[in-house]
Symmetry: none
Subunit: 225 residues, 2 copies
DNA sequence: ACCCGATTTCAGAAATTCGTAATGCCGCCG
DNA sequence: CGGCGGCATTACGAATTTCTGAAATCGGGT
């Protein structure tokens, strides 16, 4: 399921947008301000952000820069006037698209789809991830720690590679089940737990105090570079 | 410093693309038409060309053919929205990638990086592979171990040569079926297994504990130098 | 048509991994 | 500080995957 984060300080606007996106089959997250948005991006792992330029506190432009600086998360901006739109998309910010207010929610939903499709084909899957002493190579499917090869099983590697491909993002056990195992078995969460433990015993120097594979209490796990 | 030539007749598009590339640390050249582009390619020695399909005078396809005919210069094509034919033609002409309009400049910058990286490490196919005591010669199609010739069958050689041409990379049985045998996605993966065993019995000193032809459990096989 | 090696198919054995459950532990909250 | 719920850890049987040897089929050459 694709998750979209909607950031706008006006509850009415959020509500309309969210309702339309849900009708189109998206999961949604909502934030009224920058800090909340940042938190949701790190923990909720949205695939796209719809972002109002005008926000109280940290404004939309700053938030967009922050998003841009931390990875490949696509952004659609909501702008007040058409004149600045070109700059927003093309230059300073690197937003992937924009919609000028007032807009029809229908149009926004279409843009969301377009941008996601584009982002999917634009994402060049990284084939060799390096985090200090830890190296994960997708082509040869082997993992090195301090230059020494580690023996991971297929599932262990898939799990590690998925988490490491999305550093710092938190995934629930259900999400991991779906992304790594391929099916959504909402009931069986223990399997994920055991695999994370096994992974830790191999890639962590001290499995009791993990450096890379962090537990986020009550939520799930994440990989920290 | 890496130089990229941007060819598009619309100044605004050029400008946006150029600024983005510069921000990403590239040098840039600009051309609005084919003849100018040719001149800049010969005099400015760019490492990559971003090329709009639609150009006044000499069109993008012709220019791409010309570039392709004169060397190894990578090309990324800009194509109109949704024109499947253009994509195919572009790639058949030897373009290394394409981006459909409208695109986000960020997406283009990502592609530029990807294509350059790919081009940098693209090595011409070797005729003669040497891994210590093991020598695989593509021309004569024979294999030596410790200086002694081995008698491999046709399929055995094809399989070994394919794996040895991509050292350390893991291939599933399906992939091997497609790459070595030629037919796609046959359900019969057992054939691959048997051939790997036979190869081992010939090129490995101890087939029980292979040194070169490793099994990657749950995934496939790989060749290790 | 026949022969012979190469290739594919097949079934049972062997090896490895995966999922589950049971138990103990730790962090969070009142 | 004590209870509770989520997490860590262990162990083991089931399920998957690979190996092996032999039999069946294919295909080129004579």
């Amino acid at each position: 399921m694709t998750t979209v984060l909607v950031v706008d300080d006006e509850p009415i606007v959020r509500d309309v947008v969210v309702r339309y996106l849900k009708r189109d089959g998206f999961d949604t997250l909502e934030a009224a301000d920058g800090p909340t948005a940042q938190k949701l991006i790190e923990e909720g792992a949205p695939e796209l952000v719809v972002l109002d330029v005008m926000l109280p506190g940290m404004d939309g432009l700053a938030l967009c820069r922050w998003i841009r600086s931390r990875g490949e998360l696509p952004v659609i901006m909501l702008t007040a006037r058409g004149e600045e739109a070109d700059r927003i998309v093309g230059l300073e910010l690197g937003a992937d698209d924009y919609v000028t207010k007032p807009f029809s929610p229908r149009e926004l939903a279409v843009r969301v789809r377009t941008v996601l499709r584009r982002a999917a084909q634009a994402a060049p899957p990284e084939e060799r991830l390096v985090f200090g002493a830890l190296v994960v190579d997708a082509r040869s499917r082997d993992v090195e720690l301090d230059g020494r090869p580690l023996q991971l099983t297929a599932k262990e590697f898939d799990l590690l590679f998925f988490l490491a491909s999305n550093p710092r993002r938190v995934f629930s056990r259900d999400q991991l089940m779906e992304s790594v195992w391929g099916y959504a078995a909402a009931l069986d969460t223990g399997t994920v737990t055991v695999h994370v433990q096994r992974l830790r015993s191999k890639i962590e120097r001290d499995a009791r105090r993990p450096r890379h594979l962090e537990t986020v209490w009550g939520v799930g796990y994440r990989f920290v570079p």
